[in-house]
Protein backbone atom coordinates (compact mmCIF):
# COMPACT_ATOMS: atom_id res chain seq x y z
CA UNK A 1 0.00 0.00 0.00
CA UNK A 2 2.72 2.48 0.97
CA UNK A 3 4.66 1.71 -2.19
CA UNK A 4 1.57 2.11 -4.33
CA UNK A 5 0.78 5.44 -2.73
CA UNK A 6 4.35 6.61 -3.28
CA UNK A 7 4.28 5.70 -6.98
CA UNK A 8 0.91 7.33 -7.50
CA UNK A 9 2.04 10.48 -5.78
CA UNK A 10 5.27 10.60 -7.75
CA UNK A 11 3.49 10.26 -11.09
CA UNK A 12 0.83 12.78 -10.17
CA UNK A 13 3.45 15.17 -8.87
CA UNK A 14 5.47 14.96 -12.08
CA UNK A 15 2.40 15.61 -14.19
CA UNK A 16 1.43 18.64 -12.15
CA UNK A 17 4.99 19.96 -12.19
CA UNK A 18 4.98 19.67 -15.97
CA UNK A 19 1.73 21.63 -16.19
CA UNK A 20 3.04 24.37 -13.91
CA UNK A 21 6.55 24.69 -15.29
CA UNK A 22 5.92 24.19 -19.02
CA UNK A 23 4.59 27.72 -19.69
CA UNK A 24 7.70 29.21 -18.10
CA UNK A 25 9.96 27.22 -20.39
CA UNK A 26 8.20 28.34 -23.54
CA UNK A 27 10.82 29.76 -25.94
CA UNK A 28 10.48 33.41 -26.82
CA UNK A 29 8.58 34.09 -29.98
CA UNK A 30 10.79 34.67 -32.98
CA UNK A 31 8.25 36.57 -35.05
CA UNK A 32 10.04 39.03 -37.30
CA UNK A 33 9.66 42.75 -36.70
CA UNK A 34 7.96 44.97 -39.24
CA UNK A 35 5.39 44.02 -41.87
CA UNK A 36 6.75 40.48 -42.26
CA UNK A 37 5.43 39.76 -38.79
CA UNK A 38 1.87 40.08 -40.09
CA UNK A 39 2.14 37.26 -42.62
CA UNK A 40 -0.78 34.92 -42.17
CA UNK A 41 -3.04 37.54 -40.57
CA UNK A 42 -6.11 39.00 -42.20
CA UNK A 43 -5.17 42.35 -43.72
CA UNK A 44 -6.95 45.15 -41.85
CA UNK A 45 -9.38 47.16 -43.94
CA UNK A 46 -9.83 50.92 -43.56
CA UNK A 47 -12.19 53.14 -45.48
CA UNK A 48 -9.97 55.64 -47.24
CA UNK A 49 -10.30 57.98 -50.19
CA UNK A 50 -8.30 58.19 -53.38
CA UNK A 51 -6.36 61.30 -54.29
CA UNK A 52 -9.40 62.40 -56.30
CA UNK A 53 -11.76 61.92 -53.37
CA UNK A 54 -13.41 58.66 -54.45
CA UNK A 55 -14.01 55.95 -51.81
CA UNK A 56 -11.22 53.38 -51.57
CA UNK A 57 -11.12 50.12 -49.64
CA UNK A 58 -9.15 46.90 -49.68
CA UNK A 59 -12.44 45.03 -49.38
CA UNK A 60 -13.23 45.90 -53.00
CA UNK A 61 -10.17 43.94 -54.12
CA UNK A 62 -11.15 40.62 -52.57
CA UNK A 63 -10.44 37.90 -55.12
CA UNK A 64 -7.39 39.71 -56.44
CA UNK A 65 -3.83 39.87 -55.24
CA UNK A 66 -3.03 43.37 -54.01
CA UNK A 67 0.41 44.91 -53.82
CA UNK A 68 0.03 47.69 -51.23
CA UNK A 69 2.91 50.14 -51.21
CA UNK A 70 3.08 52.61 -48.31
CA UNK A 71 4.88 55.79 -49.32
CA UNK A 72 5.21 59.55 -48.86
CA UNK A 73 6.45 62.34 -51.10
CA UNK A 74 9.28 63.29 -48.73
CA UNK A 75 10.77 59.79 -48.93
CA UNK A 76 13.59 59.52 -51.53
CA UNK A 77 13.60 55.68 -51.70
CA UNK A 78 9.83 55.83 -52.33
CA UNK A 79 10.43 58.13 -55.29
CA UNK A 80 13.10 55.79 -56.63
CA UNK A 81 10.85 52.74 -56.33
CA UNK A 82 7.71 54.23 -57.92
CA UNK A 83 8.66 53.68 -61.59
CA UNK A 84 9.20 49.97 -60.90
CA UNK A 85 5.82 49.76 -59.20
CA UNK A 86 4.28 51.38 -62.27
CA UNK A 87 6.03 48.79 -64.44
CA UNK A 88 4.68 46.02 -62.21
CA UNK A 89 1.16 47.44 -62.42
CA UNK A 90 1.37 47.45 -66.24
CA UNK A 91 2.82 43.93 -66.36
CA UNK A 92 -0.03 42.48 -64.32
CA UNK A 93 -2.86 44.66 -65.64
CA UNK A 94 -5.94 42.49 -66.21
CA UNK A 95 -4.30 39.43 -64.67
CA UNK A 96 -5.85 39.56 -61.20
CA UNK A 97 -3.09 41.57 -59.54
CA UNK A 98 -3.62 45.17 -58.43
CA UNK A 99 -0.98 47.68 -57.35
CA UNK A 100 -2.10 50.36 -54.89
CA UNK A 101 -0.04 53.24 -53.54
CA UNK A 102 -1.11 54.21 -50.00
CA UNK A 103 0.16 57.68 -49.12
CA UNK A 104 0.93 58.10 -45.45
CA UNK A 105 -0.29 61.25 -43.80
CA UNK A 106 -0.19 63.80 -46.62
CA UNK A 107 -2.71 66.02 -48.36
CA UNK A 108 -4.36 64.61 -51.52
CA UNK A 109 -3.01 67.47 -53.63
CA UNK A 110 0.57 66.76 -52.63
CA UNK A 111 0.16 63.04 -53.26
CA UNK A 112 -1.49 63.61 -56.65
CA UNK A 113 1.19 66.05 -57.76
CA UNK A 114 3.89 63.59 -56.77
CA UNK A 115 2.22 60.69 -58.58
CA UNK A 116 1.55 62.77 -61.69
CA UNK A 117 5.16 63.93 -61.86
CA UNK A 118 6.26 60.30 -62.03
CA UNK A 119 3.60 59.17 -64.50
CA UNK A 120 1.88 56.90 -61.98
CA UNK A 121 -1.45 55.50 -63.14
CA UNK A 122 -2.23 52.90 -60.43
CA UNK A 123 -4.62 54.01 -57.68
CA UNK A 124 -3.31 56.37 -55.03
CA UNK A 125 -5.06 56.19 -51.68
CA UNK A 126 -4.80 58.86 -49.01
CA UNK A 127 -4.24 57.43 -45.52
CA UNK A 128 -4.12 60.77 -43.70
CA UNK A 129 -4.31 59.13 -40.27
CA UNK A 130 -1.50 56.74 -41.15
CA UNK A 131 -3.59 53.76 -40.14
CA UNK A 132 -2.05 51.24 -42.54
CA UNK A 133 1.43 52.39 -41.55
CA UNK A 134 0.62 51.64 -37.93
CA UNK A 135 -1.10 48.28 -38.27
CA UNK A 136 1.47 47.01 -40.78
CA UNK A 137 4.18 47.88 -38.26
CA UNK A 138 6.09 49.84 -40.87
CA UNK A 139 9.66 50.33 -39.72
CA UNK A 140 10.12 53.08 -42.27
CA UNK A 141 9.08 53.99 -45.78
CA UNK A 142 8.58 52.54 -48.31
CA UNK A 143 6.85 49.44 -46.98
CA UNK A 144 5.23 46.90 -49.28
CA UNK A 145 2.64 44.35 -48.27
CA UNK A 146 1.20 41.70 -50.58
CA UNK A 147 -2.35 40.68 -49.72
CA UNK A 148 -3.68 37.44 -51.17
CA UNK A 149 -7.00 36.79 -52.89
CA UNK A 150 -8.51 35.75 -49.56
CA UNK A 151 -7.51 39.00 -47.85
CA UNK A 152 -4.66 37.42 -45.89
CA UNK A 153 -1.23 39.06 -45.76
CA UNK A 154 1.13 36.87 -47.80
CA UNK A 155 4.37 38.84 -47.74
CA UNK A 156 5.65 42.01 -46.07
CA UNK A 157 8.74 43.99 -47.03
CA UNK A 158 10.50 46.79 -45.24
CA UNK A 159 12.44 49.15 -47.53
CA UNK A 160 12.56 49.65 -51.29
CA UNK A 161 12.33 46.68 -53.66
CA UNK A 162 13.86 46.20 -57.09
CA UNK A 163 11.62 45.30 -59.98
CA UNK A 164 12.93 41.72 -59.88
CA UNK A 165 12.10 41.41 -56.19
CA UNK A 166 8.60 42.73 -56.82
CA UNK A 167 8.04 40.31 -59.69
CA UNK A 168 9.33 37.38 -57.68
CA UNK A 169 7.12 38.24 -54.70
CA UNK A 170 4.00 38.62 -56.84
CA UNK A 171 4.77 35.47 -58.81
CA UNK A 172 5.01 33.62 -55.52
CA UNK A 173 1.64 34.96 -54.41
CA UNK A 174 0.04 34.10 -57.75
CA UNK A 175 1.31 30.53 -57.68
CA UNK A 176 0.52 30.13 -54.00
CA UNK A 177 4.14 29.51 -52.91
Amino acid sequence: MNRRISWLLAIAGLAIAAVVVAPLLRPSSNRPAGPAGLVGQLAPVFDLRTDTGAPASLARYRGRIVVMNLWASWCPPCRAEMPDLQRLARLYAGRGVAVVGVNQGEAPQRARAFATSLGISFPIWIDDRQQYGRVYAALGLPTTVIVGRDGVVERGFDGPLTFQQMRSAVAGAVSGR
Binding site: P23, P27, Q104, G105, R110
Partner: protein, 307 residues
Protein backbone atom coordinates in the same frame (compact mmCIF):
# COMPACT_ATOMS: atom_id res chain seq x y z
CA UNK B 1 -4.80 15.48 12.21
CA UNK B 2 -5.37 19.09 13.04
CA UNK B 3 -1.82 20.20 12.33
CA UNK B 4 -1.60 18.94 8.74
CA UNK B 5 -5.14 20.18 7.99
CA UNK B 6 -4.42 23.65 9.36
CA UNK B 7 -1.13 23.87 7.51
CA UNK B 8 -2.78 22.71 4.28
CA UNK B 9 -5.58 25.23 4.71
CA UNK B 10 -3.07 28.03 5.34
CA UNK B 11 -1.16 27.13 2.19
CA UNK B 12 -4.35 27.07 0.11
CA UNK B 13 -5.42 30.45 1.48
CA UNK B 14 -2.06 32.05 0.78
CA UNK B 15 -1.88 30.79 -2.79
CA UNK B 16 -5.53 31.60 -3.49
CA UNK B 17 -4.91 35.16 -2.31
CA UNK B 18 -2.29 35.44 -5.07
CA UNK B 19 -5.06 34.81 -7.58
CA UNK B 20 -7.65 37.02 -5.91
CA UNK B 21 -5.27 39.94 -5.29
CA UNK B 22 -2.68 39.58 -8.04
CA UNK B 23 0.30 41.78 -8.69
CA UNK B 24 1.70 42.31 -5.20
CA UNK B 25 5.48 42.40 -5.11
CA UNK B 26 5.32 40.33 -1.90
CA UNK B 27 4.58 37.22 -3.95
CA UNK B 28 8.02 37.46 -5.59
CA UNK B 29 9.89 37.99 -2.33
CA UNK B 30 12.38 35.24 -1.55
CA UNK B 31 11.40 34.95 2.10
CA UNK B 32 7.72 34.63 1.22
CA UNK B 33 8.30 31.73 -1.12
CA UNK B 34 10.71 30.06 1.29
CA UNK B 35 8.02 30.34 3.96
CA UNK B 36 5.45 28.80 1.59
CA UNK B 37 7.78 25.93 0.80
CA UNK B 38 8.54 25.47 4.49
CA UNK B 39 4.83 25.27 5.28
CA UNK B 40 4.43 22.59 2.61
CA UNK B 41 7.33 20.56 3.98
CA UNK B 42 6.03 20.90 7.54
CA UNK B 43 2.59 19.78 6.34
CA UNK B 44 4.11 16.76 4.59
CA UNK B 45 6.12 15.73 7.65
CA UNK B 46 3.16 16.20 9.98
CA UNK B 47 0.95 14.21 7.61
CA UNK B 48 3.50 11.40 7.47
CA UNK B 49 3.53 11.24 11.28
CA UNK B 50 -0.26 11.19 11.44
CA UNK B 51 -0.47 8.61 8.66
CA UNK B 52 1.38 6.09 10.83
CA UNK B 53 -1.20 6.56 13.60
CA UNK B 54 -4.23 6.67 11.30
CA UNK B 55 -7.07 4.39 12.43
CA UNK B 56 -7.89 3.00 8.97
CA UNK B 57 -7.27 3.03 5.23
CA UNK B 58 -9.74 5.84 4.55
CA UNK B 59 -8.06 8.09 7.12
CA UNK B 60 -4.63 7.30 5.67
CA UNK B 61 -5.73 8.13 2.13
CA UNK B 62 -7.40 11.31 3.34
CA UNK B 63 -4.23 12.49 5.08
CA UNK B 64 -2.19 11.74 1.97
CA UNK B 65 -4.66 13.63 -0.22
CA UNK B 66 -4.61 16.67 2.08
CA UNK B 67 -0.82 16.77 2.11
CA UNK B 68 -0.62 16.21 -1.64
CA UNK B 69 -3.15 18.97 -2.32
CA UNK B 70 -1.22 21.37 -0.12
CA UNK B 71 2.00 20.43 -1.89
CA UNK B 72 0.46 21.03 -5.30
CA UNK B 73 -0.84 24.46 -4.31
CA UNK B 74 2.43 25.44 -2.68
CA UNK B 75 4.40 24.27 -5.72
CA UNK B 76 2.26 26.39 -8.05
CA UNK B 77 2.70 29.41 -5.77
CA UNK B 78 6.47 29.03 -5.41
CA UNK B 79 7.08 28.46 -9.12
CA UNK B 80 5.05 31.54 -9.96
CA UNK B 81 6.72 33.60 -7.26
CA UNK B 82 10.31 32.68 -8.00
CA UNK B 83 10.50 31.74 -11.68
CA UNK B 84 7.82 33.65 -13.53
CA UNK B 85 8.56 37.02 -15.15
CA UNK B 86 8.38 40.15 -13.00
CA UNK B 87 5.30 42.31 -13.08
CA UNK B 88 5.39 44.86 -15.88
CA UNK B 89 3.26 47.30 -17.84
CA UNK B 90 3.17 47.10 -21.63
CA UNK B 91 2.63 50.47 -23.28
CA UNK B 92 1.70 49.89 -26.90
CA UNK B 93 1.06 52.39 -29.63
CA UNK B 94 -2.32 52.35 -31.40
CA UNK B 95 -2.21 49.61 -34.02
CA UNK B 96 0.86 47.98 -32.51
CA UNK B 97 1.11 44.22 -31.93
CA UNK B 98 3.35 43.35 -28.98
CA UNK B 99 4.57 39.80 -28.63
CA UNK B 100 4.48 38.37 -25.11
CA UNK B 101 7.03 35.59 -25.06
CA UNK B 102 6.11 34.41 -21.57
CA UNK B 103 2.53 33.73 -22.67
CA UNK B 104 3.13 32.84 -26.31
CA UNK B 105 0.55 35.35 -27.49
CA UNK B 106 0.29 38.81 -29.01
CA UNK B 107 -1.27 41.92 -27.51
CA UNK B 108 -3.05 43.81 -30.29
CA UNK B 109 -3.56 47.45 -29.36
CA UNK B 110 -6.51 49.11 -31.07
CA UNK B 111 -6.24 52.16 -33.24
CA UNK B 112 -7.16 55.15 -31.09
CA UNK B 113 -9.91 56.08 -33.54
CA UNK B 114 -11.71 52.80 -32.93
CA UNK B 115 -13.51 51.74 -29.80
CA UNK B 116 -12.15 48.17 -29.87
CA UNK B 117 -10.32 47.22 -26.72
CA UNK B 118 -6.95 45.53 -26.37
CA UNK B 119 -7.06 41.95 -27.59
CA UNK B 120 -4.87 39.00 -26.70
CA UNK B 121 -4.30 36.84 -29.79
CA UNK B 122 -2.87 33.37 -29.30
CA UNK B 123 -0.82 31.33 -31.74
CA UNK B 124 -4.03 29.90 -33.23
CA UNK B 125 -5.29 33.43 -33.95
CA UNK B 126 -8.04 33.10 -31.35
CA UNK B 127 -8.58 36.50 -29.74
CA UNK B 128 -9.99 37.54 -26.38
CA UNK B 129 -10.57 41.02 -25.01
CA UNK B 130 -8.52 42.28 -22.10
CA UNK B 131 -10.46 44.68 -19.91
CA UNK B 132 -9.99 46.58 -16.69
CA UNK B 133 -10.62 43.42 -14.63
CA UNK B 134 -7.89 40.81 -14.26
CA UNK B 135 -7.94 38.08 -16.93
CA UNK B 136 -6.21 34.80 -16.20
CA UNK B 137 -4.10 33.55 -19.12
CA UNK B 138 -2.35 30.58 -17.53
CA UNK B 139 0.93 31.67 -15.99
CA UNK B 140 -0.01 35.34 -15.82
CA UNK B 141 -2.89 37.75 -15.34
CA UNK B 142 -3.56 40.80 -17.49
CA UNK B 143 -5.65 43.91 -17.20
CA UNK B 144 -5.77 47.28 -18.91
CA UNK B 145 -4.97 50.56 -17.25
CA UNK B 146 -5.87 53.90 -18.75
CA UNK B 147 -3.16 56.49 -19.39
CA UNK B 148 -3.00 59.81 -21.18
CA UNK B 149 -1.45 59.98 -24.64
CA UNK B 150 -1.34 62.78 -27.22
CA UNK B 151 -2.53 62.39 -30.82
CA UNK B 152 -0.83 65.00 -32.97
CA UNK B 153 -2.14 66.57 -36.16
CA UNK B 154 0.53 68.38 -38.17
CA UNK B 155 -0.26 70.53 -41.21
CA UNK B 156 1.29 73.14 -43.44
CA UNK B 157 0.34 76.78 -42.77
CA UNK B 158 -2.15 76.33 -45.64
CA UNK B 159 -3.83 73.41 -43.85
CA UNK B 160 -2.41 70.48 -45.85
CA UNK B 161 -1.77 67.30 -43.91
CA UNK B 162 1.82 66.35 -43.14
CA UNK B 163 3.21 62.94 -42.20
CA UNK B 164 4.13 62.53 -38.55
CA UNK B 165 6.83 59.99 -37.75
CA UNK B 166 8.45 58.77 -34.55
CA UNK B 167 11.93 57.57 -35.51
CA UNK B 168 12.69 56.58 -31.90
CA UNK B 169 9.20 55.32 -31.06
CA UNK B 170 7.90 51.78 -31.11
CA UNK B 171 5.74 52.49 -34.18
CA UNK B 172 7.44 54.63 -36.82
CA UNK B 173 4.32 55.96 -38.50
CA UNK B 174 2.23 56.58 -35.39
CA UNK B 175 0.96 60.14 -34.86
CA UNK B 176 0.09 59.19 -31.27
CA UNK B 177 2.72 60.14 -28.72
CA UNK B 178 2.91 57.68 -25.82
CA UNK B 179 4.56 60.20 -23.46
CA UNK B 180 6.69 57.60 -21.70
CA UNK B 181 9.67 59.81 -20.93
CA UNK B 182 9.77 62.39 -18.14
CA UNK B 183 11.20 65.90 -18.01
CA UNK B 184 11.61 68.32 -15.10
CA UNK B 185 10.14 71.75 -15.79
CA UNK B 186 9.62 74.34 -13.07
CA UNK B 187 9.74 71.70 -10.38
CA UNK B 188 7.16 69.51 -12.13
CA UNK B 189 8.00 66.01 -13.37
CA UNK B 190 6.15 65.93 -16.69
CA UNK B 191 5.51 63.36 -19.45
CA UNK B 192 7.53 64.12 -22.56
CA UNK B 193 7.85 62.78 -26.11
CA UNK B 194 8.99 63.89 -29.55
CA UNK B 195 8.13 63.37 -33.21
CA UNK B 196 9.36 64.37 -36.64
CA UNK B 197 7.66 66.03 -39.60
CA UNK B 198 10.02 64.95 -42.38
CA UNK B 199 8.33 66.86 -45.20
CA UNK B 200 8.90 70.13 -43.30
CA UNK B 201 12.31 69.09 -41.93
CA UNK B 202 11.17 69.63 -38.37
CA UNK B 203 11.56 67.81 -35.07
CA UNK B 204 9.00 68.66 -32.41
CA UNK B 205 9.20 68.05 -28.68
CA UNK B 206 6.02 67.80 -26.65
CA UNK B 207 5.43 68.06 -22.89
CA UNK B 208 2.04 67.19 -21.41
CA UNK B 209 0.42 69.16 -18.59
CA UNK B 210 -2.61 67.97 -16.64
CA UNK B 211 -5.48 70.46 -16.24
CA UNK B 212 -4.21 71.33 -12.74
CA UNK B 213 -0.66 71.88 -13.95
CA UNK B 214 -1.84 73.78 -17.03
CA UNK B 215 -3.88 76.12 -14.80
CA UNK B 216 -0.61 77.45 -13.39
CA UNK B 217 0.59 78.40 -16.89
CA UNK B 218 -0.28 81.57 -18.69
CA UNK B 219 -2.27 81.07 -21.87
CA UNK B 220 -3.73 77.68 -21.03
CA UNK B 221 -7.48 77.12 -21.29
CA UNK B 222 -9.13 76.54 -17.92
CA UNK B 223 -9.88 72.93 -16.98
CA UNK B 224 -8.17 71.33 -19.96
CA UNK B 225 -4.88 69.52 -20.37
CA UNK B 226 -2.27 71.28 -22.46
CA UNK B 227 0.78 70.39 -24.52
CA UNK B 228 3.91 72.51 -24.75
CA UNK B 229 5.46 72.21 -28.21
CA UNK B 230 9.04 73.16 -29.06
CA UNK B 231 9.99 73.01 -32.74
CA UNK B 232 13.57 72.37 -33.84
CA UNK B 233 15.07 71.97 -37.28
CA UNK B 234 16.11 68.50 -38.39
CA UNK B 235 19.56 69.04 -36.86
CA UNK B 236 17.85 69.39 -33.46
CA UNK B 237 18.59 73.14 -33.34
CA UNK B 238 15.80 75.16 -31.71
CA UNK B 239 14.04 77.53 -34.06
CA UNK B 240 13.49 81.11 -32.87
CA UNK B 241 10.09 81.83 -31.29
CA UNK B 242 9.09 78.22 -31.84
CA UNK B 243 7.90 77.20 -28.40
CA UNK B 244 4.27 77.54 -27.38
CA UNK B 245 1.48 75.99 -25.38
CA UNK B 246 -1.59 74.44 -27.01
CA UNK B 247 -4.65 73.41 -25.05
CA UNK B 248 -6.27 70.07 -25.83
CA UNK B 249 -7.84 70.38 -29.31
CA UNK B 250 -6.39 73.85 -30.01
CA UNK B 251 -4.43 74.40 -33.23
CA UNK B 252 -1.38 76.67 -33.05
CA UNK B 253 1.03 77.96 -35.68
CA UNK B 254 4.62 77.26 -34.70
CA UNK B 255 7.92 76.88 -36.52
CA UNK B 256 6.29 76.79 -39.95
CA UNK B 257 3.77 74.16 -38.87
CA UNK B 258 0.20 74.06 -37.73
CA UNK B 259 0.05 71.71 -34.72
CA UNK B 260 -3.03 70.44 -32.90
CA UNK B 261 -2.81 68.05 -29.94
CA UNK B 262 -5.63 65.81 -28.78
CA UNK B 263 -5.13 64.41 -25.30
CA UNK B 264 -6.85 61.05 -25.12
CA UNK B 265 -7.09 58.14 -22.71
CA UNK B 266 -5.53 55.02 -24.09
CA UNK B 267 -5.00 51.62 -22.48
CA UNK B 268 -1.73 50.13 -21.33
CA UNK B 269 -1.66 46.51 -20.16
CA UNK B 270 -0.43 45.35 -16.77
CA UNK B 271 1.00 41.85 -16.71
CA UNK B 272 1.56 40.05 -13.42
CA UNK B 273 2.70 36.51 -12.73
CA UNK B 274 0.10 34.25 -11.14
CA UNK B 275 -0.02 30.61 -10.07
CA UNK B 276 -1.73 28.30 -12.52
CA UNK B 277 -5.44 28.56 -11.76
CA UNK B 278 -6.33 24.95 -12.69
CA UNK B 279 -3.46 23.59 -10.59
CA UNK B 280 -4.34 25.71 -7.56
CA UNK B 281 -7.98 24.77 -7.95
CA UNK B 282 -7.00 21.10 -8.07
CA UNK B 283 -4.83 21.50 -4.98
CA UNK B 284 -7.56 23.27 -3.03
CA UNK B 285 -10.10 20.66 -4.12
CA UNK B 286 -7.81 17.87 -2.92
CA UNK B 287 -7.31 19.55 0.47
CA UNK B 288 -11.03 20.13 0.90
CA UNK B 289 -11.86 16.57 -0.18
CA UNK B 290 -9.24 15.13 2.13
CA UNK B 291 -10.43 17.14 5.13
CA UNK B 292 -14.04 16.20 4.36
CA UNK B 293 -13.07 12.51 4.15
CA UNK B 294 -11.25 12.73 7.47
CA UNK B 295 -14.22 14.43 9.10
CA UNK B 296 -16.58 11.81 7.67
CA UNK B 297 -14.32 9.00 8.87
CA UNK B 298 -14.06 10.48 12.36
CA UNK B 299 -17.83 10.93 12.56
CA UNK B 300 -18.41 7.37 11.40
CA UNK B 301 -16.03 6.01 14.05
CA UNK B 302 -17.72 8.05 16.81
CA UNK B 303 -21.07 6.63 15.79
CA UNK B 304 -19.72 3.09 15.94
CA UNK B 305 -18.21 3.71 19.38
CA UNK B 306 -21.36 5.27 20.87
CA UNK B 307 -23.66 2.50 19.59
Amino acid sequence: MRVPALLAAAICVLVTIELVLPGRSLYHAGWYNVALAALAIWCALAARKRCAKAPGALARWAIVIVAFGAGVSAFAGVVSGLFAADNRTVVGAPGERVHLGEIGAVLAFPLAERSDGVRLVDSGNAARSIGARWSDVGSAMLRTRSRQVVAVDARTPGGGHLTVTQPTGSVFLSPVLLMQQRQQIAGMNLPYDSFAVPAAHRIVKAVLFTPQEAATLRGAAAGAPAVLFAVDDEEDRPLPHAIALASDGEAIALGGLQLRPSVISYPAVEIVAAPSLPVVAAGVALVVAGIAALAADAWRRRKVVTR
